[in-house]
């Protein structure tokens, strides 16, 4: 047996301790400075996202699966859709969806605005994606209505109609009316392209462009018609109905009163 003097054992022990200390230091420094882990790191969610996760497991997991991976035939994966999409769908009541169909319609929302934001935060931290760049419900800057109108007419009115009253798409789908939408919802919809709506990314419509469109749409929603009752702003169909159901009926009764029957 090799002689082990007490100093050698102590030296080995100290070396081992120094190694351990170095490892702990290195690991600790790394843990301190490295960015938070991406997907599949359940321990690193923020408080809001934790709330969102609880909500998710209650309302969304049935169709969108564990960790938002998606379920075949029921709901798509939400990895990468971003908080904007989630906020839009939940705040407008479209999600949680009550039934599968050609299109999911706006309804009174099941979850309130705070809960929607929490869900959004959860999905954002899970997989990233586009976010609404402002925190309030209203746009931070007033857009240019006239420029917004030009953008609206070339990009939006083909589906949503000149009055923003909505329009039919093929086979039971439709572009919904915009009269109930908040600025935030309009922004989120343009940014994320819900269901069959095209995606209008920031490279195509800059945030200021989007604010301009929002200003135009809200002007449409709040402006009173200068020519009297707008008849729903449907255009010539309701005008035609009005001339028969109102005009000709009134004149028919007038004629009956004037000249009588046989």
């Amino acid at each position: 047996m090799v002689s082990r003097s007490p100093s050698r054992i102590r030296r080995r022990a100290i070396a081992a301790l120094r190694m351990l200390a170095a490892l702990v230091l290195a690991g600790g420094i790394y843990a301190l400075v490295s960015p938070g882990a991406q997907a599949n790191a359940p321990g690193s969610l923020s408080a809001a996202a934790e709330e969102g996760k609880a909500l998710y497991n209650n309302y969304c997991i049935t169709c969108h699966g564990n960790n938002a991976q998606g379920v075949e035939g029921r709901g798509p994966s939400l990895i990468g859709v971003g908080s904007a999409a989630v906020e839009f769908q939940v705040e407008t009541g479209r999600m949680p969806a009550t039934a599968q169909g050609a299109q999911i319609d706006r309804k009174p929302p099941q979850l309130n605005s705070d809960q929607a934001r929490q869900l959004g935060q959860y999905i954002q931290e899970l997989g990233g994606g586009p976010q609404v760049p402002f925190s309030g419900e209203r746009s931070p800057t007033q857009g240019n209505i006239a420029h917004g109108g030009e953008l609206f007419r070339i990009n939006c009115s083909s589906c949503h109609a000149f009055s923003a009253g909505g329009g039919a798409l093929s086979s039971g789908k439709f572009a919904p009316p915009l009269n109930e939408s908040t600025d935030r919802q309009l922004y989120a919809a343009m940014l994320t392209g819900p269901q069959n709506m095209p995606v209008f990314g920031d490279n195509q419509l800059s945030p200021q462009d989007k604010f301009d469109v929002i200003a135009y749409v809200q002007n449409l929603n709040t402006d009173n018609d200068p020519g009297g009752w707008g008849l729903g702003r449907f255009g010539p169909t309701t005008e035609g109905v009005a001339i028969f159901l109102f005009g000709m009926v009134v004149l028919g009764f007038a004629a009956l009163w004037i000249a009588g029957k046989s």
């Binding site: 070339i154 572009a175 995606v199 990314g201 195509q204 009173n224 009297g228």
Partner: protein, 361 residues
């Protein structure tokens, strides 16, 4: 002055004898001077007064109701939302309507209630003319023919054809000649704003609706679409109404499907895509409306005018509705500066609705 029986009898008798008009029933609705008659007279007068009043209010509103923002110097600013100015047209309509309606009702009540109720007969004297008259007129016309002597002057008859045809031709030639315009020299159907020949031999850039901003592939997100115009002077105006295209970025598997379909069924579109980007003419091949309702998940392009639907992932082939021909694809490529340019004028396929002599695509 009340209704005079004497005068009535005179009128009635004369109408019967001279005009063939027989008044068989003539009855005052209310006895002259009765309470009911006075009530109706008051009612009619009231309506006339209302009409006059409403007309005055109409004129006053027309002049003084807020329509122009007087303090403004350059003109009035339209106030969105609710304002007094929004009521200008409705108040004018209401007051004018009441004025006219009251007047109309007053006149009608006067006619219906205050005038005596009558039943009058008149003979129609319809049917053909008296045979003797017919014969005389017929003979007069025939004699006129004899007087003119056309039938016994065959030379004249033939000679008349010349100015008839000639002047007729002249009358038709002038408007037709002035209006007529040849569609094929220069051909308006086979050339759009994307023609490199008209651009000095250079490929035309795709630009946005401002006419200036060139488009890079990164500008469009997956599932996004943008309307693009030719980057030539006036390219975004109606001077080049046949040129707008819809630039779409497809999802990867959809782009693969489109490439497969090009190879399989429509090789003229080969090489037209720039990566996952594809550009189709926006002008519907049915009646020319912009087919712009792009459904990014089903990849259908719906035209709102007559509901033609085109499948983007199969060369914009029509799958529903009255359209019969695909939307022409604009072949695009990314140039050295990173902007999108069109390499050909829709491969020579005419854009928009079809016509009789349309070349086979």
């Amino acid at each position: 002055m009340s209704i005079s029986n004497e005068r009535f009898e005179f009128v009635r008798q004369g109408a019967k004898e001279r005009d063939d008009v027989e008044i068989v029933h003539y009855e005052l609705q209310y006895p002259l001077g009765s309470r009911q008659e006075k009530r109706v007279v008051r009612f009619v007068s009231g309506l006339f007064l209302l009409s006059g009043l409403a007309s005055v209010v109409f004129v006053a509103c027309y002049i003084w109701w807020p329509f122009t923002n007087f303090p403004a110097v350059t003109g009035w600013e339209y106030e969105p939302g609710n304002s007094w100015m929004k009521g200008y047209t409705p108040i004018l309509g209401l007051t004018l309507g009441i004025a006219l309606a009251a007047f109309g009702f007053a006149v009608l009540v006067w006619g219906k209630k205050l005038l005596p109720h009558e039943i009058v007969l008149q003979d129609r004297h319809d049917g053909a003319s008296d045979p003797a008259e017919r014969k005389l007129t017929g003979s007069t016309l025939q004699f006129m023919g004899e007087e003119m002597g056309l039938s016994r002057r065959p030379l004249l008859k033939v000679a008349l054809l010349a100015p008839a045809g000639g002047l007729g031709l002249a009358a038709a030639a002038l408007p037709i000649g002035m209006l007529m315009k040849d569609p094929h020299h220069p051909d308006v159907f086979l050339h759009t704003g994307w023609d490199p020949q008209a651009n000095g031999g250079k490929f035309v850039h795709l630009v946005r609706e401002d006419g200036e901003t060139k488009i890079r592939p990164e500008d469009i997100s997956i599932g996004g679409q943008i309307t693009a115009f030719p980057g030539i002077p006036g390219g975004t105006t109606n001077k080049h109404a046949d040129s707008p295209v819809l630039l779409i970025r497809l999802r990867q598997n959809d782009a693969e499907a489109l490439r497969a379909n090009i190879e399989k069924g429509y090789p003229i579109n080969r090489g037209g895509m720039a990566g996952d980007l594809v550009a189709y003419s926006k002008i519907c091949t049915h009646a020319g409306c912009p087919a712009s309702l792009y459904e990014q998940q089903s990849n259908r392009l719906l035209c709102p005018c007559h509901q033609s639907q085109f499948l983007i992932t199969d060369n914009a082939r029509p799958i529903f509705g009255p359209a019969t021909r695909r939307l022409p694809m604009l072949p695009i490529v990314v140039d050295e500066e990173g902007f999108l340019v069109a390499t050909s004028d829709f491969n020579g396929i005419p854009v928009g609705p079809a016509f009789w002599e349309k070349p086979e695509a």
